[in-house]
């Protein structure tokens, strides 16, 4: 048989094959495989695999110390959430497990030169030598030594005081603008003796807050949970989240908070709403009465731009809906209100009898110190240190950071020569302004201590347990202190060599005292410390996420109350100052605006670009927000780039309009800098905070500014 293959046969075969292939699953499988293949490029990150486990720790990114449950894969945390039922973490806390991998994490000590894009790698030994040299120079009279502590109250804070005890000119100061710093005003108003003061916000029925971000977790108050039982009155120029959440918002002009407080006192006294028996008969109270006589509700309302009825209503509510508490807060990014304003505000508590009672201001005994009773360097406020007098500044930002204008520190430095050394896990925030930065382990890589938060009514402590091994190159702050002591010939007695051993000493002392309870994060159950046989048991309970709280004190010492905080009639001078000085036409009041959560950390997760860059929710740093009517009067439109001018300099900013901004005010967004979000930038770059020149009261919450074309 003859078998001829014609061209037609070939074409028919090819056509049939093509149709058959098309009708088979093969091309679709191929397409699918191709799609899957393109999803698996080598550079597409692969989620980790491994055994799943849940571990508990405590968030150390702000002083609140929220218990955290970490979901781990192969021992590495992949998700964090609140360990307490019904609680939630803030965006910073939720992304805390990203921070050990932050692009601007320090991997070794660096030397920073202004204007240089990249810092130079140095050795830790070299930083120790330079620091020791600066200490020796200071002892020889070249200037003073200041340790700037961004998380006061830790065992590490105590160790700095112990280290520098032999240097006459040395002090340890809290970094400016830290949360709760305003409560220091109470030390001069109340006879503190060996106590500090906390706020019993949870038991208050009415809270009058002057700028404190109460709805954002300030004072560890869960306002959402307490909403049914607490009324909140917020005095604040900005329409913040707290102002929006308040039952009554009094939008007082920036810098006029004290006038409002004194006018409320005026109403309380004029209407006989308070019992002043405990205060009357002293020179202090006579001065106070003469001050508040000058602040009638009508006058204060005119100063603050409020309706007098609002002041009357607030005063009556405070007196009738007790227990009430009046708090002065630090504006996130905007710092404190200043001592006179804080005194005027806290003075209302003295009038209302809110001291040492449930729902008011309560004295508390401090946490036991981790070491013996050896001499300690005194504590000081930064503003008490003379300008141009400091030869060495050591910034301990190992446990957190603060948001403040660098000029507050720079003005203290001696022109004859000074050194700034920072301990920080990241090359951002305070560390980026130093001459040398030494890397310390970040959150989740070492034990961090969460001592009593400013608002707590009793002393407490929690420990943030590490979930990751410490990366090589990180330096333990206490080991660094030991090195300095050796190099500078300072006496640093004690067995402790690391932060962990120092904290263990403190925990052992708490155990020896045998009082208080440890609360479990899982079920809220409390165990008496007296029932724990060894300090190791207490240590383990704390490392498992527990919090030790001292037993509440039922007996308070009788107090001498100084309602003007020693300021006398000078208390009344501040509120008029803001409005008395003539200002050039077109001058605006510059008010910095930040959110509380990200203000406590030098670095934040790059994922928070969702809030700061990829959506308009929080705005990127340096955005200026203006009321549309103010913008129209200045001839500016939304979206324009303009020059923002203050006494400290100028900066180009993008303009946004918002009817929620007070006319005559320009709000400036103080968001995490690009370096804090993970972008590689030159260290120490100028920031919006550099435009804010702190005034005499070390406040930068309201600064004169102008907006110019170009």
């Amino acid at each position: 048989m003859k078998f001829n293959v014609t061209r037609r046969d070939v074409l028919r075969f090819a056509g049939g094959a093509a149709i058959g292939t098309a009708l088979s699953p093969m091309p679709w499988n191929l397409t699918d495989d191709l799609a899957i293949w393109t999803q698996n490029w080598s550079w597409i990150p692969k989620p980790p695999k491994g055994e799943r486990a849940t571990r508990t720790t405590v968030c150390a990114l702000c002083p609140a110390g929220c218990p955290v449950e970490a979901r781990c894969i192969g021992g590495l945390p992949v998700a964090l959430r609140a360990a307490n039922d019904g609680a939630a973490l803030c965006p910073l806390g939720m992304t805390g497990h990203h921070l050990p991998h932050h692009p601007n994490r320090l991997t070794g000590a660096v030397g920073i030169t202004r204007g240089e894009r990249r810092p130079a790698a140095v050795t830790t030994d070299m930083v120790v030598r330079e620091t020791a040299r600066a200490i020796r120079s200071a002892r020889a009279g070249a200037g003073s030594v200041v340790v700037l502590d961004t998380r006061p109250g830790r065992s590490g804070s105590w160790a700095w005081r112990r280290l520098l005890a032999g240097i006459d000119s040395a002090v340890v100061a809290a970094a400016p603008g830290l949360e709760g710093a305003s409560l220091a005003s109470l030390d001069t108003m109340l006879d503190a003796r060996s106590q500090s003061f906390g706020l019993d916000l949870r038991n208050a029925r009415t809270i009058l807050s002057f700028g404190a971000p109460v709805a954002e977790g300030w004072g560890q108050l869960d306002l959402a949970a307490a909403r049914e039982s607490v009324r909140l009155v917020q005095v604040e120029p900005m329409r913040s989240r707290t102002a929006e959440s308040a039952d009554r918002w009094l939008p007082a002009r920036p810098g006029t908070e004290a006038a409002v407080a004194l006018a409320i006192a005026n109403v309380l006294l004029a209407e006989g709403l308070v019992d002043t028996t405990a205060l009357s008969g002293t020179d202090e109270f006579d001065s106070y009465l003469s001050v508040i006589a000058g602040f009638s509700p009508d006058r204060a309302a005119a100063i603050a731009g409020l309706a007098p009825d609002e002041i009357f209503a607030t005063a009556r509510e405070l007196a009738s809906s007790g227990p009430s508490i009046v708090v002065a807060g630090e504006q996130p990014g905007g710092g404190p209100l200043g001592r006179p304003a804080e005194t005027a505000i806290f003075g209302l508590n003295l009038l209302l009898g809110n001291v040492d009672r449930e729902g008011g201001i309560v004295g508390r005994t401090p946490l036991p110190a981790p070491g013996d009773d050896a001499p300690l360097t005194p504590l000081a406020r930064l503003d008490e240190i003379p300008d141009h007098s400091v030869a060495l500044v050591i910034i301990d930002a190992s446990a957190g950071d603060g948001v403040y204008p660098w000029s507050l520190v720079a003005r203290k430095l001696s022109p004859k020569g000074s050194l700034v050394v920072a301990l920080s896990p990241f090359l951002s925030g305070s560390a980026a302004r130093a001459n040398f930065a030494v890397p310390t382990p970040p959150y989740l890589e070492t034990i961090h201590e969460l001592p009593t938060s400013f608002a707590e009514p009793v002393a407490s402590i929690a420990l943030s347990a590490p979930l990751l091994p410490t990366r090589s190159g990180a330096v333990d702050p206490v080991a660094f202190m030991r090195s300095i002591a050796r190099a500078a010939g300072l006496d640093l007695a004690g067995e402790w060599a690391t932060t962990e051993s120092l904290i263990r000493e403190r925990v052992a002392r708490i155990h020896r005292a045998g009082s208080g309870t440890v609360t479990s994060p899982a079920d809220g159950s409390a165990t008496l410390v007296a029932e724990l046989s060894t300090s190791d048991e207490l240590w383990d309970a704390l490392l498992a996420g527990g919090r030790w709280s001292a037993a509440p004190s039922n007996t308070m010492p009788p107090r001498t109350m100084r309602i003007t905080g020693g300021l006398g009639t000078a208390l009344g001078e501040l509120p008029t100052r803001a409005t008395a000085t003539p200002r050039p036409t077109g001058t605006l009041t510059l008010v910095p605006r930040a959110t509380r959560d990200t203000s406590a950390s030098a670095a934040v997760s790059p994922v928070l670009t969702k809030l700061y860059q990829e959506s308009g929710l929080r705005g990127s740093t340096g955005t200026a927000v203006l009321n549309p009517r103010t913008a129209a009067s200045l001839g500016f439109a939304a979206g324009r780039n303009v020059r923002l001018l203050t006494a400290a300099g100028a900066m180009r900013v993008a303009l946004m309009l918002d009817e929620g901004v007070m006319p005559g005010v320009v709000e400036i967004v103080v968001a995490p800098e690009r370096s804090a979000l993970g972008e590689k930038t030159a260290p120490g770059a100028r920031t919006v905070l550099d435009l804010l020149t702190p005034g005499n009261e070390q406040t930068w919450s309201a600064v004169d500014a102008q907006l110019l074309e170009g």
Binding site: T609, E614, L657, D658
Partner: protein, 256 residues
């Protein structure tokens, strides 16, 4: 993965706008849970990836009577999703088991018709290869695969959590999921407890009751898309915003 024939459901959420204070915890939790990468330096509000985005709108009155409201907006999980019919790749799928509108990245060719069709601006295009800083890939959620450049992505009510809850129910020999086992990340993260989630078909569920309350509403209801994301507010001016495009309103109000 174990599978089981679970009871059909119509998952939905009700967001209480009177509780939401715009903290952004929901948006952050969503990004962490679903392995949404951080922004490139050049990314902006138009090119960013935010499965859950919180918009701010105001009552339009002058200071100090001006008040604002925060609208967390994610995929509205429409009953009649316009994104499904326009997709040439069948890359958008409505699950008959859950009612959730899913995006299937392996099928997506990146034409972005669905983004054009979506009236809620709830779909996002991957302009860049997903990239995390070195070492941060060890923090990714192993239950969610990373999407590549060139595809559209969006909220799927945390599908991986539904899968896990389904597996758990199957292991226990149950057909019904325990509501406590299936909670999307944004619901879990909200500190104000402003988001209620559950099965709309279950009349006993909180979400079914809240969705029927007098002050509940849906966005752009006039379009007939029948979203399964409800909002509620006691404030009349907030409810009136339901028919406005909140994304455009915010942009026009603040940026001109």
């Amino acid at each position: 993965m174990e599978s089981a024939e679970t009871t059909r459901a119509r998952f939905a959420m009700v967001i209480d706008l009177d509780r939401c204070n715009g903290c952004g915890a929901c948006a952050t939790a969503c990004a962490v849970e679903n392995n949404v990468p951080p922004a490139r330096p050049s990314a902006n509000e138009r090119t960013g990836l935010t499965w859950q985005r919180v918009y701010r709108a105001s009552n339009g009155r002058q200071f100090p009577e001006n008040r604002s409201v925060y609208f967390p907006v994610s995929c509205q999980q429409c009953e009649h999703p316009p994104c499904v019919s326009v997709c040439p790749q069948n890359a958008v799928d409505v699950s008959p088991e859950t009612g959730v509108v899913s995006q299937i990245p392996v099928r997506c060719l990146g034409c972005r018709y669905c983004m054009t069709a979506c009236p809620y601006h709830a779909r996002y295009f991957n302009w860049f290869d997903p990239k995390w800083p070195d070492g941060m890939e060890t923090t990714l959620n192993p239950d969610v695969s990373v999407r590549m450049r060139g595809v559209v992505e969006k909220c799927n009510f945390c599908h991986s959590r539904w899968q896990a809850a389904k597996a758990k129910a199957a292991a226990a020999g149950k057909r019904d999921l325990d509501p406590a086992d299936y909670v999307p990340a944004c619901v879990e993260a909200c500190p104000e407890k402003a988001i209620v989630f559950g099965n709309l078909d279950d009349p006993r569920s909180g979400v079914a009751k809240s969705a029927k309350s007098a002050n509940a509403f849906r966005l752009l209801e006039k379009l007939g898309t029948e979203p399964k994301v409800f909002y509620r507010s006691d404030r009349a001016w907030v409810r009136r915003l339901a028919d406005a495009d909140v994304a455009v309103q915010e942009k026009e109000a603040t940026r001109g």
